[in-house]
């Protein structure tokens, strides 16, 4: 990959292509950076940049909360900061869904809201996975911890047909941390928070997708339970499922030393 890619926020495999949302350094001048799609053919390793989204918040380096998933109709889902608000010394961002079609190099976006018509304002959205026409994603408000405020973390469900969201899981305190991973396999979703907040680490969570799919919007019952797996001992990792195992890759530990590839336990 080119050295002006200074970070890769997410990757989605579409056929034999990997579509990366890459943070690109300041070949655009003024020390700013942008997020642009970078498409790699996995068979030939040939690659090219797609277009950046014009007039978007991606023109800044407010670079968290990007995640992607794949859907046959609309290839990529891409959360990003929208309108920025500042409240009590902490910044929260209105979340939109951004869609990128690598076939046509075209961007779309839409606003999302809950059943009450409230837009989603959170500090970070750091992991996302698709289950049919729903997206499961995590959100948390982290900046408050800097100022001693209480923190909250959520798992949310977004209906892609209506662009409405509801809450699947909510917990006061702590955060999930960027680098957390949401994985969907069959009738279960596995969420691996990173260990960013060691003093209040989150255990891996499992979501019963059968129960969740049967839940009406806004009426989600208890579908989340703790996984029988240890807290992952690193920060900023990636993960995916190969066969019956979850493989966790990365990330930095306390000294930001070289990373490990770690194999997790078998799925049930």
């Amino acid at each position: 990959m080119p050295s002006n890619i200074i970070g890769v926020h997410s990757v989605t495999i579409i056929g034999s292509q990997a579509v990366l949302m890459a943070r690109v350094d300041a070949d655009f001048g003024l020390g700013t950076c942008r997020v642009r799609p970078y498409v790699i053919d996995l068979d030939t390793l040939s690659a090219s940049f797609g277009s950046g989204y014009r007039d978007s918040p991606f023109d800044s380096c407010v670079g968290d909360g990007y995640a992607t998933a794949y859907d046959g109709a609309v290839p990529l889902f891409f959360f990003a900061p929208g309108v920025v608000t500042v409240e009590s010394n902490s910044s929260t961002y209105q979340r939109r869904i951004y869609l990128y079609d690598p076939e046509t190099d075209t961007w779309y976006f839409g606003d999302i809201e809950n059943a009450s018509g409230n837009r989603l304002f959170v500090d970070q959205t750091c992991s996302l996975a698709q289950d049919g026409s729903s997206l499961l994603f995590t959100a948390f408000n982290q900046i408050n911890q800097t100022f001693g405020f209480s923190r909250s973390r959520w798992i949310l469900r977004l209906d892609l047909e209506t662009l409405t969201f509801d809450t699947v899981y909510a917990e006061d305190g702590g955060d999930f941390g960027c680098g957390s991973q949401m994985l969907v396999e069959g009738d279960a979703a596995y969420f691996l928070p990173n260990s960013e907040s060691i003093a209040d680490p989150s255990p891996p969570l499992e979501i019963d997708l059968v129960a969740l799919r049967a839940s009406a919007p806004g009426a989600v019952g208890s579908v989340t339970s703790e996984m029988d797996a240890p807290i992952f001992p690193r920060q900023f990792f990636g993960a995916d499922i190969v066969g019956q195992s979850i493989f966790v890759v990365g990330g930095s530990d306390g000294d930001f030393v070289p990373t490990d590839i770690v194999e997790e336990r078998h799925l049930q």
Partner: protein, 79 residues
Amino acid sequence: MELLETSLTPPAGVDFDTGWSFAPRLPDALYNVQAALPVAEYDGELWVFGGADEDFTSATTSAERYERDVYVFNPSTES
């Protein structure tokens, strides 16, 4: 990305490595990874797509930046 203040000292009696099996380390080129490592399964292999450089804002030449290589890990042939 704004980083959080963290304490990486586990609580007494807690070993975060317990319960995990570890495979070979990634190459040193991924040193200083400070963002999520994008990982995706493709054809039974794990593909790892580079990382992020924590010091990119102070880098003035391309030589100071890190390469963003693509790594492939095959769990069926490597241990």
